[in-house]
């Protein structure tokens, strides 16, 4: 009897230890803020605690009731995700996002910030409708293993007023376009135009491309207002044909309508000073020939 009690005690402690012990798991900690100075606005911030693990790839979705809420912008300012595979955006009835952090991220950091307008109706209903659909993270190792992830319930914080939230709504700075590269795709042997379009405050709304033989000034966006058919695109953009004689323009627009346009000079055209130089050479050549011709006779 005493022996049985001893065995049961050991079994109890083993079960208790196994149940009590837990493996490493990243935690998605997210909060919803009401903005006091901007009525009908809700700020949703997704944060991640990697629990000491190094993670490098992230993907997720956020659900909400489109009858009660409208996505106004998505900001990746100070995000731990450095390259977006899917820039945070509304697709059908949810916000989806995915991206990577080269060499991994370990610690606590922000994933993204979403700004919603809530329409008519019950605010509490609107708040309750916001849910994380799914969240995946991958360990930064050569096995690309999926990390265990826990999602905490949302923390609803009222009336948080920060500079970040103001910048989301009052943004006058144009987006940025960087890391431009033209590389050959080894699989299709066509050229891919790589670029990085970002906006630090209100977030990038979209980027677009325009290819034409027409020369427009990227310093004067009004030139592009007339009959310019922009094609919305993400990086990379596949150049389907030879664009050596074309002008390529890239545009980035943020959620507050600020615009940045840049021109990639691929067309091999003569500049004005080259034309003047050519004209000078022709005139001098004619003069030399005339002199030679007149002296020979």
């Amino acid at each position: 009897m005493k022996n049985s009690f001893f065995k049961l005690s050991i079994l109890f402690f083993v079960v208790w230890f196994l149940a009590g012990s837990k493996g490493e798991a990243a935690t998605v900690d997210w909060q919803i803020n009401q903005l006091p100075n901007f009525n009908n606005s809700l700020l949703v911030t997704l944060n991640l605690d990697t629990d000491g693990q190094s993670l490098n790839t992230f993907a997720g979705s956020l659900l909400f009731d489109a009858h009660l809420l409208e996505l106004r912008s998505a900001s990746d300012k100070n995000s731990i995700i450095k390259l977006w595979l899917d820039q945070p955006a509304l697709k059908t009835d949810k916000v989806i996002f995915s991206g990577i952090t080269p060499n991994g991220f370990a610690g606590q950091g922000k994933i993204l910030t979403l700004l919603f307008n809530y329409k008519n109706g019950d605010l509490n209903q609107a708040l309750k409708s916001i849910k994380i659909g799914h969240f995946q993270a991958y360990l930064n190792n050569d096995q690309a293993e999926q990390a265990a992830v826990k999602i905490k319930p949302a923390a609803i914080v009222s009336y948080l007023d920060t500079q970040v939230s103001k910048n989301l709504i009052i943004d006058t700075l144009a987006p940025d376009i960087s890391d431009l590269q033209l590389v050959k795709d080894p699989f299709s042997n066509k050229f891919l135009l790589i670029f990085k379009a970002t906006d630090a405050d209100s977030g990038l709304a979209y980027s677009a491309i325009y290819i034409s033989s027409e020369i427009l000034s990227s310093d004067n966006p009004s030139e592009f207002n007339r009959q310019v058919k922009w094609t919305k695109t993400n990086s990379p953009y596949l150049l389907e044909s030879d664009y050596s004689s074309q002008q390529i323009y890239l545009k980035a627009v943020d959620n507050q309508g600020n615009v940045k346009i840049i021109k990639l000079s691929t067309a091999n055209r003569w500049s004005w000073y080259e034309l003047v130089c050519l004209l000078f050479i022709i005139i001098v050549s004619i003069m030399i020939f005339r002199r030679l011709f007149s002296s020979s006779f």
Binding site: I100, V183, L192
Partner: protein, 235 residues
Amino acid sequence: MLICPLAGSANIAESTHYNLIDAGTFSGGYSSSGNFQLNGAVGQISIGTSTDTSLDLKSGLLYYPSVTVPTVTAVAGDSQVALSWPAAVGTLGWTVGSYDVGWSAISGGPYNFISNGLSLSYTKTGLTNGIRYYFVVKIKDALGSAIATTTQVSAVPIEPDSPGGGGGSSGGGGCTRKGDLNNDCKVNLVDFSIAAYWYRRQLIGAIIATEKQKLSGDSKIDLTDFSLIAYYWTG
């Protein structure tokens, strides 16, 4: 001059001057002479279709002996490539006697061959990592004559994964690193962008062409591949 039906391979009936009056059992491609004439039955007879008592001679395409040509699978490893294939099956008298494995660093050969008996697998070792090698398997009959050759397959031996620094070169064969899709020995924004392009194309049904071994090797591009790119990132 050969005047009797001949059962055997064409190597036996190879001459620059003979006339073959009656057909023998030999397969296409053996008769390399530019001068001999083949008289009599156009088709070849096979074992069992003619007998001594009836001299029943049947000719025609239906009676050509044939052999199935297997598909070779090549799996790259460290300085080696493992090949495997299902058994070739002969019909109408052809019996598979052995397989020769050929390899070359040049697509289309010439190949170096090694006899592999009747084994259905072979691992070619001592290869240089990072170089693409091409392989074929030659099927031989019981008399040792080649009767079919498989379609060429290729593979690039890869060195064990080493994250971060290091050139990754081995024996002058260049560098091989998972995620280095444009072979510039770096894993960076370019590779991420190429993978992202094909990831999006894949979503609409397009299929990535090749070079699967540079990603996770599962013939599709998904988040695990981007995780590998992020891990091997050299910037």
